[in-house]
Structures are given as structure tokens and as C-alpha cells.
Amino acid sequence: MSMEKNDKSLNELTGSEIFVKSLEMEGVEIMFGIPGGQVLPIFDKLYDSKIRFILTRHEQGAAHMAEGYARATGKVGVCLSTSGPGATNLVTGIANAYMDSIPIVAFTGQVPTHLIGNDAFQEADITGITRPVTKHNYLVKDVKDLARTIREAFYIAKTGRPGPVLVDIPSDVQRAKTEFIWPQEVEIISYKPSYKGHPGQIKKLAQVINESNQPVLYVGGGVVSSNASDELIELATKCNIPVTTTLMALGSFPPENELSLGMLGMHGSAYANKAIQQADLVISLGARFDDRCTGKLSAFAPKAKHIAHVDIDPTSISKNIVADIPVVGDCKLVLQDLLKEVKPKKHTEWLNQIKKLKEEFPLKYSNDDKLRPQFVVEEISRLTRGEAIVVTEVGQHQMWSAQFYKPARARKFISSGGLGTMGFGFPAGIGAKFGKQKEKVIVIAGDGSFQMNIQELATASINKVNVIVCILNNSFLGMVRQWQQLFYNKRYSQVQLCSHSHDPKKCPIPDFVKITQAYGGEGFRVTEKNEVASVLKEAFKIKNKPVVIDFIVEDEENVFPMVPAGASLDEIMINLA
């Protein structure tokens, strides 16, 4: 009797041991977060684990790092926080991953089960709070469910249309004991994403491609998450179809290829937008017809006889634009099947038309002696040959990065698309670097956005993370200033970050060089155009610490072209005049 009991309890593990074991089974190498009262048992077990834990300075930073790691590597990013404020601090990061369909799993501690609902100290209903911004979430009330829940969480995060999953674990569940049973298979009968496209639909799509004269491929993040770049390139070059991508998919098609149209939409190239408006066939691959891409919906692609939409998520299809050829499936598999059905085409006339558009409406900016932000991005692109992972913050600098950085491949350009979260870029860059230690990671930031998670300089310094932050410092919340200039009569309301001067000597708040030094990093300031290349080269030599370059750029530069919000893609403004 007593023997039996002993044997059984020998096999039993605490919830926190199960937590760590489960993460090890999932192959988690690294996680990001901050401890607190309701996750002490877990942190005690992590102390002995091989999983690398990165202590951040803010939970928002942890969530963005997990996402940056996921985007750079294609693996699932993991973050962990305590209950209450720790959990609520994760929310922006979770929402960001949700909008951009990035697989992360967020773990939160929770007050003990008997206190749930009592307004206990540091209690927050985090499953309730995150319901609209997670793909799925769980509150684990019984330790027996813990291993299976963690297994499911990772599975749900990375399969189908990827997205964030949150697992809330009360502290008594972390302490309770049970036998550790790791489920070999995940079987959720209500969750069965379809990966293979319907053969009949694929045939139909092939037929309209074969019959079209002016086709355009409109490519989104789904191509990145399904690693379908090679297939995309094969399709585009076989049939000579020009390719425009969303912000999310930059790099999935080589920007130097003559079929590349760059980004479409509000700040996309004029030739991409004009090509869409003239196309007789738009083939959307893993994109969701976001309003920033389509402009006024009723005027989108008016000449298109067919709109085809390939997406793994049926809810994306015909949500904004009705697609007459919907294909539900994984972009990579659908493209592989499609490639067998399409015939090579030259489209000489159409490509000539595109070429003319490119010549007539190039992306440009004034090439004078002033230090223009676009020039800085072009220099970064030139010096790295698009091989660096560029991560951006949100604002004008983000759009200039999208326009002028030429990422050589997918996963070389990382930016907050759907949510547009200032404060995303720097921590996401740190996360990306942890995932891709051998690659150069450059964060292109605005002086506003960088200050939203500037505290992570400590995380980068202490962990010897070499991320190069290039601040395109205009002393403004530039993107908002641009809208106020264009649509609110230049009434600059709360957009000046320096109250009286753009000159860093007169308004050093903060002095980005000094603050970086104070955090243990290396800081530079660039005020002249002719210093850009040399300082970048010097900065690229630095190892094992964060580097910040404060580029004092033209302060009232605007992002063009621009399709005003709600206008059709035809109403693109090429410049101010």
C-alpha cells in the first residue's frame, strides 16, 4: 500500500516543474519577461532550467521581443509575466502579434484559484481582457490540464493563421502536483485548419492567370508565415506577373527584380498603386485587403475582371473585397499546386507599361546637401546590401524604411503593420537579434517611438546584444505632424518633442547619445549628410553592445507619395505641389 503511494508521488511533478518540462519539450530556447508574486514557483524552477530567460525592463518589451524573435526565426516566441499589472503590460504586445498574425505564447501568473473573482491583490481578468486580441486563451484551473494546455497553446499559435495564445496559470496550480503526461499528438476536433487548396479552385485560378493580360500579384504576410517566397518568385517569373507587397511581406519578393513594384497603399509607390488600378486580374496571396492598402474600397482595382484571394483564414476572404476566386489554404501549398497548372507568359506589353510607370513616378526625394531621412535609409540599404534585418518603429521613418530599404529576403524587414505600435521596433529588434545572433540587426526609429521602450537599452546592454538603432530624429511626432500640416492647416498640436529647437545642443531632451552611454551602449550623433556612411561603418564594427545613432534629419520632411485616408488609390499625391 504505502509502496504504491510512494511510487506514485515519485512520478508526480509540481505545476511549475510541468511548465518548465513542457516548454523544454516544445523546444523553447529563450523566453522574455519579468517575475512577480504570482509566478514565484515558476521562476524557482526556471532557475535550474537550460531555457535562457531574458529579464526585460517592461513586460511590453518582453512581448515585443517574443514577437521579434518569432518573426526573425519563424519559431514561436514566448514571454512570461506575473498577474495583474504584469499581465496587463503584455496586452499591447499581444494585440500587436494578433493584428500581424505572429505566433507567440504569453504565460501569465494568476492569483490562487480560490481568490479568483475576489478582487485579490494584483488580480486581473487577463483571459477576459485579452479575449479580443488572442487567437485563443486559457485559464488553467487544474494542474492535470497544464501539460496538455501548453501543448495546445503552442500548436494553436503556430498552425493555421498564426497568432498569439495566452495561458493564465494561478499560483496554486503552479504548486499543485500531478503526474506529468506529455500528449504526443494534439487533437482538437473543433480546430482543423485546411492547408491544401481546393483543386477545382486552383484550376480556376490557373485558368484566369493564363487568360489575363495585365495581372498583378498582391502579396501579404501569409507568404512570409508559410515560407512561400521561393514559390512566389517561381510563379511571378514563370508568368511574368508584377508583384506588389504589403508592409508585412516586404522582402518576400526580391526588390531588385524588375517585376517588383515595392509596397502598395497609402505610402506605397505610385507605380504599384497605378498597376493595381490598371490590372485585369489581382491575385492576393496571404494579404487581407487592409484599408491602408486598398484605399477607398469601391474604387479598388476597377478594371479587374477577377479578384483571386488565397488565404488560410476563411474570414479574411471577401471580408473587405469580394473575391470571385477564393482559395482557402496555405500559400506555399497552393502555389505549388498552382505552378503545375499555369503556363509561361511574357506579358511584354504589360511589363512595358509598368516600366514606363516606374520611370514616370519613381520614389524620390530632394537630393540636396541637407540630411534627409530617406538618404539615411538608402545608405543603410546600400551598405548592408539588404542583408541586415531591419526592424522599424512606427511613423514616417517606418514608411521611409519600407520605401527605401531593400530587404534581400523575407524576414529581413520587421514592422508593426496592423496595430501600428510605437515602441514595438526596439524591443522587437532585440528579440530578432536573440533569434539570429549572426545577423546584423538595425532598428530604424523615430525619436518619439524610441522613447516608448527606451528602457530596454538596459536589457540589450546587460545581455551584450548588438542592435544598431538609427534614430531619424526630427524632434516631432512626425507622422502626426505631417497629417496636421496637410489636413489641419499646419496647426501643430502636441507634436513637438522639443519645445523650442530642433538643435540638440539647445534642446537635449533626451540627449540620445548620453542616455545610450548611461545605459552602457555606444552613442553617435550625425548632423551632416557626408558623415552618414562613415558613422554607419564605424557603428557596424562595434560588437556586444547596443549602438544608437542619432541622425538629426530635416524636421519637416514629408512621406510621399500619399493616398489620403479614405481616398481611392487613383487620388495618390506624388508630392506637396
Binding site: 477576459g128 482538437i188 473543433s190 474570414t315 471580408k319
Partner: protein, 161 residues
Amino acid sequence: MNERKHTISALVYNKSGVLARISTLFAARGYNIDSLAVGETENPEISRMTIIVRGDEKILEQVEKQLNKLIDVIKVYEYSKTEHIERDLMLIKVSANKNNRSEIIEIVEVFRADIVDFYHDSLIIEITGDEDKLTAFINLLKPYGIKEVVRTGIVAIARGK
């Protein structure tokens, strides 16, 4: 496009939070629910929700897809294309006195409703039926003074197998 009522039935896991997930979805996407009824099925681990939603075909398509996307939703049916039976149960408290009570009782009998409570100045009537029947019943009782109406919301089931 044509706004109309759609009867949607969803099989969902009988877990805490599922109802919240569905109502969050409807609220977040701005869909209008006329009624929502939930109850266990023959399998206690699975519940059936009957949701009456208003909107055009495009909204209906999105509602169905979005529901299917929720991990805890097992299956979604839309009943307009299938023959089905709908029922709503209503309790209605109506003013009644010596003079008009027998008139009301007559209406109740015609509608095959039941009087479930009898008070000196009011009656409580229980009635089951589809939308049209219940609306007609309410209209007939209005002149007497309706004090309170409580409804379960529509539940639906397909005919045959």
C-alpha cells in the same frame, strides 16, 4: 443589400468562457444579436447555441466564418436553407380584472397557451411558438395592458434526420 434575420446554431464546448468569447466576437465586430439561447445537448460536454442575428448576406457569411474560427466552436449551421422548427418560450404578465378576464382566457385558449399564475388584477401566461405566433399574441393582449414580458430566445432544430 437585404437585412434579414438569420437563425444560426452553433455546437460549442461546454466550458467557462465560451459564451463570453461569442458575445465578445459579436460586440467587437458590431453584429446585432436579436436573441441568444444556450443549453446542453445530449452530450453534456457540448452545448448548443441558437443565435438570431440581423444583417445582410455578407454579414451572415462573416458571422458564420468568424464563429467557425473560434477554437471552442465545433460546428455552425445556418437554418435558412434547411427546413427547421423554431420555438421561443414567453412568460407574459398582463393586467386583468373581473370584466375582461374571460376575454383574455379565450385568447389564451385559442393560442393554446397556459395560465400559470392568477392574481386579482393580473394573469401570467406561458406560451411557446415561433416568432409570428408570439408577436400576434402580444398584439392581441396589448389593449389589456402588458406589465412584463420574459422570453427565452429562439431555439431551433432541423427537421428529419
